[in-house]
């Protein structure tokens, strides 16, 4: 097969799938094949209301109080391993001792400390989100998808009981991707879910005060974030902290005396499980955290 190598062809295919346009410099046959791929992708369709209703009816008979629905934003929105669920160890680290011990041992070797918990135990009033950075607020996941203009990542299954969680809202801090959060709260148990999404793009790019860069972690797509606002891992300080565009800090919840220093974070996704390594002290470089991440695959 002449023209592009297999690797180049796949890269172009991925690019087309993300909505990229074909170059006129492509070899003729490859361009035609990729054009066909683009047309095949365009043939995708959404489920009809009939199908959604049909499946919902079958799975949730009238006697059941738990109806299956795709329409309520906070329910759709996640579950998602709350992003951070996945959080590799976050969810597991402090909640479950064996996993927590293991994770801490692994990371202590590299001087990395996990921020604790994605389920902060608020002691004050019911969580109220007061962002100072001008947010774009959406009411549905599809609105977020439309605004993002790139495929969002909806991370993994989430163990939280979504029936008890209230959707608080979406916020995005950039109009070209990379950083979107969705927040959930519970008046009784004070759950909080935060999700992050990104798209692969070349070169570092700024998002607010942070700086992001696409990375490869043992063949899996990842994201390196430097100086990321600590609101990302709200549980660490049992409060949400937003840094405004003017540098003003706003804290919601209990402070516990921690300073709202930004963090470094490395995320990568493997088979829809989102892994996150966090350096709360910004002492580790991108290369350091990549070394930790890649080492996870060396025992395979």
């Amino acid at each position: 097969m002449s023209g592009l190598s297999d690797k180049e062809f796949q890269a172009w295919l991925d690019f087309v799938e993300r909505g990229g346009e074909l170059s006129s410099a492509l070899p003729g046959d490859d361009a035609a094949d990729l054009d066909l791929a683009s047309r095949l992708l365009a043939l995708r369709t959404a489920p009809s209301p009939h199908l959604a209703a049909r499946v919902a009816r079958i799975l949730a008979p009238p006697s059941s109080t738990r109806a299956l629905t795709r329409t309520t934003a906070w329910r759709r929105a996640r579950v998602g391993v709350g992003a951070v669920a996945a959080l590799l160890a976050l969810a597991l680290t402090l909640t479950f001792t064996p996993a927590g011990t293991w994770a801490q041992e692994m990371l202590q070797r590299f001087g990395v400390v996990f921020l604790p918990g994605v389920m902060p135990q608020w002691s004050g009033e019911f969580l109220k989100v007061v962002p100072t950075r001008p947010p774009v607020v959406f009411s549905t996941e599809s609105e977020v998808q439309a605004a993002a203009e790139f495929p969002l990542r909806w991370p993994t299954e989430f163990p939280f009981d979504r029936e008890r969680v209230t959707f608080l809202g979406y916020m995005t801090y950039t109009n070209d991707g990379a950083w979107i959060e969705s927040l959930y709260g519970d008046a009784k148990d004070h759950y909080l879910e935060v999700q992050v999404f990104w798209r692969q793009r070349p070169g570092p790019w700024p998002v607010g005060d942070a700086r992001f860069e696409s990375v490869d972690v043992a063949g899996w797509e990842g994201l390196w974030g430097e100086g990321v606002p600590a609101s990302f891992i709200a549980g660490a300080r049992r409060s949400l902290i937003y840094k405004g565009l003017d540098g003003t800090l706003t804290r919601v919840g209990e402070a516990e005396g921690s300073s709202p220093a930004p963090i470094n974070v490395l995320l990568w996704e493997e088979e829809e499980i989102l892994y996150v390594l966090v350096d709360p002290n910004q002492k580790l470089s991108r290369a350091d955290l990549l070394r930790v991440a890649v080492s996870a695959y060396q025992d395979r």
Binding site: D33, L40, L51, L59, F96, A99, W102, D161
Partner: protein
Amino acid sequence: MATLIAQRIRQFLAREPGLSEGAFTYLYERHLDRILNYVRYRLGPEEAEDATADVFVRAWGRRRGYDSEKGTPTTWLWAIARNVVTDRLRRRRLRQVELSLDLAVSTDPLADIERQEEWRRVQVALGYLPTVDQEIIALRFGAGHTNRAIAGLMEMSEANVAQRLRRALRKLRTQLQGDDML
């Protein structure tokens, strides 16, 4: 080590036998569209919605038997989806499929007709490809799976998937050109 992490997360997610309602609902929300489009490729638009519903009915009935040690919920659901397609393709040999209109809702009837015509041509052209290639095309362009995910589902190497996908696209295009599509 990452395997250990994944196992522990799975154990946590599946601390009760089977798949919880919440986890199942998540699967449904996340994969309904993708399974529908995969099934459309494999079975055609006439049968797609019915088969997709069948996938979730079957999965719902078997959710208590889900074993986190054997794979992720996603892998489990997709195995069921592929089984449903295989079963229907087998049955198809025994009976004529009753045609019905595509139920997709649209505000542009002309575009609908064009799409249906294009679909018809793609379906015919796909029929000339080996079954494995049809499956790869459906999983990539219908379901939106990555080559890596397809490799996992089909128990092939990622490189093999990439090669077959490229060749399948070329064959499909040649076939469609014969149909005066391009």
